[in-house]
Every structure is written in C-alpha cells, then in structure tokens.
C-alpha cells in the first residue's frame, strides 16, 4: 500500500502545489479545473520522478512560511541599501568582494533555497558551488567586512533552513 502510494505520488507536496498553481492560472475556482489540476499534479511528478529521486526527509511548511516573510523583509531593506549605493557611490569607491560560505546543509533542496535567497537579496549573488558541494561562492557588491557577510548568511538563513529541512 505504501509502495503503491509512493509510486503514484513521488512528491505529495509537489502534487498539491501543481494543482493550486493550475487553479490560480485559470483565475477562478471551478470543479473541473481543480480536478484537471490534480490530474496534472499526479502525472507531472510521476513522469519527472527519475530526475528527482530523493524526497527531502522532513519539511516544515509553517517554518518555511515565516522564513519567506523574513526573506521578503530582507529584500525590501537590501533594495533600499543597494539603490543608495548605486545612486551615490562612484565606481572607484566600490568594494566588491568574493565571500566563501562553508555549508553545513547537505540536502540539495536546502542548498538550492539558500542560493536562491542569497541571489534574491540585492547586494549578494550566489555564483557557484564547490565541486563536492561543501561551500558556496557568493559575490557581494559592496562590503568592508566579508567575514561579517559570511556570518550573517550562516546565522540568518542557513540556521533557519537547517530547522526547516532537518
């Protein structure tokens, strides 16, 4: 029974998400479209299961929500800071730097979310992962303290992602 369920729904949350996205795309909730969304939500994870074999063992939806609110707030603050840098700082006084962030996270999904968060926050872009996935290369637009940026990323985002995925 469990095996049949696992075969039919390799990613139960993805099934739900696809159904919700499909319904939102229709711009109005009708029974037919919800059913069709569910059908898509079953077919798409099934035929793409080969490319995503391991599901994350644990995933806290509630903590993910509060994480998203935190990230949105950080994006707002960082946007204003970076806009100020763009408008007032001449190129010669800009201090761009590479920051190497050692990763404690091991799940690929968690690392993807962390890299995405870093890029979405203006001022930092995650550029590359090391060959075995133990550290992340981040480019910062303007900083006088690269170690501080690294510690903030670890403290603010990675610790929370660890709680979400582990």
């Amino acid at each position: 029974m469990t095996r049949a369920f696992r075969w039919l729904f390799p990613h139960p949350l993805l099934t739900l998400l696809l159904a919700v996205v499909w319904t939102l795309l229709q711009n109005g909730v009708t029974a037919g479209m919800v059913v069709f969304g569910l059908i898509l939500g079953i077919i798409i994870p099934r035929i793409t299961a080969a490319w995503w074999p391991d599901i994350p063992s644990r995933f806290h939806v509630g903590r993910m929500m509060s994480y998203m609110v935190l990230v949105l707030w950080d994006i707002l603050v960082a946007n204003v800071q970076v806009a100020w840098i763009v408008l007032t700082r001449p190129n010669s006084k800009l201090r761009p730097a590479w920051v190497v962030v050692p990763l404690d996270l091991r799940q690929p999904e968690a690392i993807t979310v962390l890299a995405g968060t870093i890029t979405l926050t203006p001022g930092t872009v995650s550029t590359d992962l090391s060959s075995d996935g133990h550290s992340l290369l981040v480019h910062t637009l303007d900083t006088d303290d690269p170690d501080g940026v690294r510690d903030e990323i670890k403290q603010r985002y990675e610790r929370r992602l660890k709680e979400i995925f582990e």
Binding site: A83, N91, T127, D128, S131
Partner: protein, 129 residues
C-alpha cells in the same frame, strides 16, 4: 468612493516605487564597469521593481473589476527563476575568467564551474582562440 480614492493613491505609489527601482536598476547596469558587479542590478529590478508594479496591478484588479490572483503567480515564478539565470551569468563569468579570480573553496578542491576534466581543457582553449 473613499475606498476607491485610497486604492488609486496606493496604485500610484506602487507604480512610482516600481518605476524608481527599475530606473535605479538600469542606472546600475550602465554605471558598473565590471561584469560581476553589473549582475547585481537585475536582481533589484526583478524583486522590488517588478514586485511593486505587480502589487499595483493586484490592487487595481481588486478595486475595479474582477480580482485576480495571477499577479501572485507571476511573482512566484519570477522569484523562482531569477536566481537561476543570475547563477548562470555568474558561472559564465567564472568560466571566461572575466572577473577577479575567486578564492579557494574551504573543504573541496575547486569550484564546480572550474572543475573541467583534463581532456576537455584544451577544447575550451581552442574555442576561445
């Protein structure tokens, strides 16, 4: 009536904020002289700029005419896909060496983009020349 007035003001403010951040993004794109720093401009445009414009469209659709949630969807897709393209631009810069060489990773040998097998390195050199 008053609700409509408040909505119109809110839409106007959102449009202004969105346009401002778009503008700053474009200035950043033109002003920065290094391919890596230039990459920082579009992240601002795609988050704050498009976000504020979509919020304006969201308020408009709910005040006048039928509300729609598609704006939220656009926002979601944008936030999921924008980091991927930025990541690839960064990888291309690393690959071409058109930026400051990055420091060594902490635990591993090298960065994934620079981790080219010995046999393939010559092909890259030939293509560049």
């Amino acid at each position: 009536m008053t609700i409509e007035l408040i909505a119109v003001v809110a839409i106007g403010v959102c449009l202004l904020i969105g346009a401002f951040f778009m503008f700053v993004g474009v200035i950043g794109m033109l002003k920065f002289n290094d391919s890596m720093t230039r990459l920082h401009a579009p992240t601002k445009v795609s988050t704050m700029g498009v976000g504020a414009l979509l919020l304006a469209s969201f308020i408009h659709s709910y005040t006048f005419g039928d509300g729609s949630l598609i704006q939220l969807l656009v926002m979601g897709f944008l936030f999921v896909t924008a980091p991927i393209s930025a990541n690839f631009f960064g990888k291309v810069n690393l690959h071409h060496g058109s930026c400051e060489p990055p420091p060594k990773p902490i635990q591993d040998e090298t960065w994934a983009t620079l981790n080219v097998p010995e046999a393939d390195r010559e092909i890259v050199v030939q293509e560049d020349a």
